[in-house]
């Protein structure tokens, strides 16, 4: 018994050191302080007139179930068709799984980062996931007249500044995209208005209103926070390089496959 107690004490004494050593081993190699532009190092940008510069690498986290991110009084309410589709969505048919673009909002709300490149007349979102991009035209143009006939996987986006908030209007979104990973679908009528506002220089508030009367009873608005990824970069992602999941997929309906 005494031996057992002594052994126990020995083990207890040994564990924290062992755990610490193992944890240290598993950590990513220590990174040197990032050297480069302010948007890479997280330092203050140079003072310039005009709107804030959102350039940089940002991370949101997965879109999940967007109804859980609705602002008070702005909840997502499904139409009967929207509910029928959500209850019966087949997760084996998620376009993301087939290496297709996830859609304009979902590509930003990802566990992979997105880089924003900003200039006065155009802004680009360059997403690590699927290596897809969006272009936001800031030069005063309107959406193309024939957009409804030629929808795009990332939609068509035009933007403007309202004081310090970037407001992006997106239409013509291919109805094969899902607005989130939990499987909310939409019609070709989907209209998104995204508002980007810096809470501080390394925190970006993302408030987006979705309007699509075919799937949702009324417009709903969600809020997410993007964090600047200091010292990080957009890494490789060629989705079809070694895709092996598609051949193993089984029909998985509604709640059974939510993620």
């Amino acid at each position: 018994m005494r031996y057992a107690a002594a052994l126990g004490l020995l083990l207890l004494a040994a564990i924290p050191a062992a755990a610490q050593r193992a944890a240290t081993d598993r950590k990513a190699p220590p990174k040197p302080k990032p050297q480069g532009a302010w948007w890479y190092t997280g330092e203050a940008p140079p003072a310039t007139p005009g709107p804030p510069d959102l350039t940089g690498v940002w991370l949101s986290g997965a879109s999940g179930d967007l109804s859980k991110f609705a602002l008070p009084g702005q909840e997502m309410i499904l139409t009967p068709l929207g509910k029928q589709r959500y209850d019966n969505v087949d997760h084996a048919k998620d376009p993301d799984t087939y290496c297709l673009p996830q859609g304009p909002g979902r590509q930003l709300m990802s566990i992979h980062p997105t880089m924003i490149l900003q200039r006065p007349d155009v802004i680009a979102f360059l997403s690590e996931t699927q290596h897809i991009f969006r272009i936001v035209y800031m030069d005063g143009r309107d959406h193309p007249e024939d957009l409804a006939d030629y929808p795009e996987w990332t939609g068509n986006s035009i933007g403007k500044w309202e004081k310090d908030t970037l407001v992006v209007d997106t239409r013509g979104i291919n109805e094969r995209t899902w607005i989130d990973t939990s499987g909310h679908e939409h019609s070709q009528d989907l209209h998104m208005v995204e508002r980007f506002h810096l809470a501080d220089r390394n925190t970006l508030e993302y408030i987006t209103t979705y309007e699509d009367r075919v799937f949702f009873v009324k417009p709903f608005t969600i809020k997410r926070i993007f964090k600047r990824q200091i010292g990080d970069r957009i890494m490789d992602y060629a989705c079809m390089e070694n895709e092996k999941d598609i051949k193993n997929l089984m029909p998985t309906i509604g709640e059974n496959g939510r993620r």
Partner: protein, 136 residues
Amino acid sequence: MRNRLLTAGLGLVCAAAPILAHHSFAAEYDSTKPIVITGTVTKMEWMNPHIYYYVDVKDQEGKVTNFAVEGGTPGSLYRQGWRKDSLKVGDTVTVDGFKAKNGSNYINGRKVTLPDGRRVFGGSSDDGGPATEGKQ
């Protein structure tokens, strides 16, 4: 207890960097079919959209089966500290994971015990799969 604490320590580290899947866990793997395999690494594929490593497992009759184990994406694993040589051909590993629904030799690997005894999270974290320490 030793294992639990070791795992907890690693879990904290691994939790810092979530890993993305591009598919629903349940559309491919069966959460009611957990499997633990121990065997020899025969190949490592450090590619998108998931890393795969292959493990030869010998059963009691001596028959060898080669399992394909799916992990996270290379970029996310890299950020978490994994490197392409974290698992080398010839290494002995133990993988806690789940079997594919279609009965093939594919496994979704969640926890990996490395040759030196370290247990790390190596799976996908936003796929709706079973909770695992280190899972986001």
